[in-house]
Amino acid sequence: MSNQQQFGPGGVVEPNQLNQITQAITGLDSSQLTWVSGYIAGLAAAQDPNANNLAPIAITPVPESAGTLTIIYGSQTGNAKGIATAYQVKASEAGIPAKVISMADYKPRQIKNETHIAIVVSTHGEGEAPDDAVELHEFLGSKKAPKLPNLKYAVLGLGDTSYEFFCQTAKDFDMRLATLGATAVLERVDCDVDYDSAAAQWQDDVLAKIKDDLTAKTTQVASTPAANTASVASIYTKKNPFAGTLLTSQKITGRDSIKDIRHIEISLEDSGIQYQVGDALGVYFLNDEAIVQRMINAYGLSAEETVTLGDESLTLAQALTEKCELTLSYPTFVKALAESSGDAALTALLADKAALREYLVPRQIVDIAIDYPVKVTAQQVVDACRPLTARLYSIASSQNEVEDEVHLTVALVEYEEHGFVHQGGASGYLAKRLDEGAPVKVYVEGNDNFRLPADPNTPVIMVGPGTGIAPFRAFMQERDAQEAEGKNWLFFGNPSFTQDFLYQTEWQGYVKSGLLSKISLAFSRDQAEKIYVQHRLLEQGAEVYQWLEAGAHFYVCGDANHMAKDVEQALLTIYQTHGKQSADEAKKSLLALRKAKRYQKDVY
């Protein structure tokens, strides 16, 4: 369609088309119309060759709470909860659909789907948000907060005037919502210790203001069309990655953990990139500048020397930082440098292949430079290096939940050797070296061999210890968005319950909501004997077998060398024990399961 075609009232469509459209939208309420307008705009964007044409169909989810007053409370002592709960009753009695939710249970991103919210919040200590409210409070003040031009809100603050920062948290919410474009239906009310009458007055006043908006609506909104089709092709590829923005790099293991695992959030805003749960994200990184300098020093070279890579001319430091693989080590580096330097020791190292492998395993390229500071040129060093490649991480989010973000679960590799800190290439980059807000080059690597069942009623069993949890977080977000009826069972393991329960509060939320039917946990170091996920599988063998017989899909993600093998062995044992099968039959059963794409692995 182009603007030269002039038809009908809008000058765009023919009269009979307009008729059809009018018919189709008859009876829709304003929020449904808003949705339809977005839907159609998305269709247009997808077809228009002039626009940013690879943008996906912009499917704006229908607000779940269309026509509902959402009462959100946050409190330390329970007073706010009491007011909020009573308010829900009052609103319902007044014919206004209302739901009440604790800020602790409220997903901050949900706020952009709201039309009317009432916030009841206390202030903790010296002007800080109460624990329950911290996440939402921070979110609304962060750069992640969405614009909220369609939101109407009211805030009730609970406090104590003897404190310096009286009702500070309520003030913050009020200001932040206003900043995001939301409209206050009523001026904020700040209550002192004896809040009863002020709170009651506020409830009545707010209801009076929003009554007209909310009482008329009775129609139920049709369900959102599923967006779970094949990956939409993107102009951003391994060769042409998108410069996303690192939003969050948050350690999610406790302070006494033996592991440092990060939750990473990257913005894909304006890229049009669409990924599916099960996909991986390729992440390009820059090498650690300190390591690059050590390497340059080891060879007695200068960082500013010019080298050539293909038809590109750049400094040695630049080349090593941006273009060369330095964290994995490889024999070709040794070979190339041995040849170009003619160094006897390096040549000797090359002679014994097994010894060379053994030498390389615990080392990064910089360690070789320090062990063998041979005489070479800058160009020879660069030529000896493999080109830097992106690292792949299983995606830990669903776009139905996070929209234009992508989340990862990254274990930071970090250790000291030769008296200085070595980091993993991408993990060190994402976890430590890159500042939040900085650009990071990424692309989506599809993985059609790790997909949720097409039928949302199919049960799934997920085994994901350690960072293997990542795709299952995405699975649960997706099943949640789909309102999938199929049961979900997660097996997770890590060293310690208190320190290493990755995404604990999210799993608790999913268990509470009923989405996650079962969770089986194996914390290996919390008792004398080591317990791993395969032990939990065997303990629950009878039920695992029942689920499989009922058509469950079985997913494994994480360590390939030990865990995945142990889990597979456990599955075989389960077929034998609970399916009364011979060893051969069990193998066949597993093969059949795999062929039916009901046994999928994402292991590394």
């Binding site: 200590g125 010296e126 624990d131 911290v134 996440e135 104590d160 003897s162 404190y163 310096e164 002192d192 210790v193 004896d194 948050q250 350690k251 999610i252 293991t253 406790g254 302070r255 939750h263 319950f497 208190t498 320190q499 329960f501 990755l502 995404y503 604990q504 509060t505 999210e506 799993w507 608790q508 268990v511 969770i519 946990l521 919390d526 008792q527």
Partner: protein, 568 residues
Amino acid sequence: MSDNKNLIVEGKLAVNERIKSESNFLRGTITEDLGDDLTGGFTSDNFQLIRFHGMYQQDDRDIRAERLKQKLEPLHNVMLRARLPGGVITSKQWLAIDKFADDYTSYGSIRLTTRQTFQFHGVLKPHIKLMHQTLNAVGIDSIATAGDVNRNVLCTSNPEVSHFHQEAYQWAIKISEHLLPKTRAYAEVWLDGEKVETTDEEPILGSNYLPRKFKTTVVIPPQNDVDVHANDLNFVAIEDNGKLIGFNVLVGGGLAMTHGDHSTFPRKADNFGFIGLDDTLAIAEAVVKTQRDWGNRVNRKNAKTKYTLERVGVDTFKAEVEKRAGVKFADAKPFEFTGRGDRYGWVEGVDGLHHLTCFIENGRILDYPGKTLKSGCKAIAEIHPGEFRMTANQNLVIAGVPAELKEQIQALAQANGLMPQVSLQRKDSMACVSLPTCPLAMAEAERYLPDAVTEIEGLLAKHGLADESIIYRITGCPNGCGRAMLAEVGLVGKGPGKYNLHLGGNRAGTRIPKMYKENITDTEIMTILDELIGQWAAGREVNEGFGDFVIRSGVIAEVVDSAKDFYA
């Protein structure tokens, strides 16, 4: 009783009343929660019910916000408060709790408390049953040390009049046992006790237990180490020619209040009169039952005995107790309290045994650099045939040491920092646990106390009063565990680094201090104290205490009847 109508507060019952009534005699679904490995905590009702079994769910508040960001729940754990009437514990028991603290608590300490018992802090859910079973194996339980019940019964730790202490201590045990919940829930839930078919009954506490916590003491004047006015029910030992003949009964003390709620206030106990020894249990039971039936079950903030007395009148309450017990109170016998501190160092009891009272700052028994208190206590327990007594001032008495062991125990105590050279001021200072474990804490108490005392010492020295002291107490919230509402200078936590400053208690603990300044910083407090201690130094009468001075000189008004005066 039909005439009780006006004596009972009508209205929608407080949430805790529902929890208790639905708990199946305190069982709730605790066992199910123990099997839930998704969380280290307890679900809402059970969160309250475990208190009746002597535990509070807590978490490390220092890292709560950090863990929220880490998508980890708060570091839930429980604090256990043991039931030790009179604070008495044997060496064998000591060794068992010492080991458990090492092996299974995250803080590794034995915390002596103002309730004359010990607390474990930081026990993770998978170890809770093991904890109760470990204690049970050496004859300790934690039944009813928290929750709406009669809690651990205190008894003066006086080591000098040893025969008298023995008698009073036996009464503390008898009262504790008599008022204990009868439900088998504790044994079933924690000790894997057999489930019997019989229905539980609570003839004294009732199936809904008490409206609120209830605290009882046995006290031997002239010492008031247990702080009678912080307690609902007190038996003041009366002697005749060195023999215990009965008790004066003091009812309705209590220090808890709620910031900003003037219907709550600390209150002193009223003296109901004298009873003979034989009537002790009957009177204890009658006071508890009267409070059980008349206490406010609608508003928990006004549910304690002190408010029942204010509401129905002391005479009405007393008459009901007499009616229920079938005992008339005789006129109170004269007695006098002269002080509350412990008598540090060695004393010889009339039985010829020796008693060593050790000063434990904050009651926290732990190995510190150069002060290996915990190792010291353990080493003493290994050779000591007597017992330990925890005092209501959070100190420790090594009691009943035979003469031949005295030297050896003294050497161990000295080597491990149990006999520190500290000022009188430090000995007269006290704080509750507060941050980081107590969920109610609003400001630092235990962790702030040592430095605060150093500052007060400096002020006393500056004004030429280095040998004097002020009863100085810090409590992290207005619930009053640190008994600041019976101090000469009492700090009540209001927010991080902020306190309400109260002045005007006395040394014997028979006067409630009044708020002097609200919500001020530690620096402001020290500035005020500097000024006032200066005035005291210049204008005091002979031996006049700081609390008496500030009232006489008009710095603060005296609280006589706290219902009227406290907020006036």
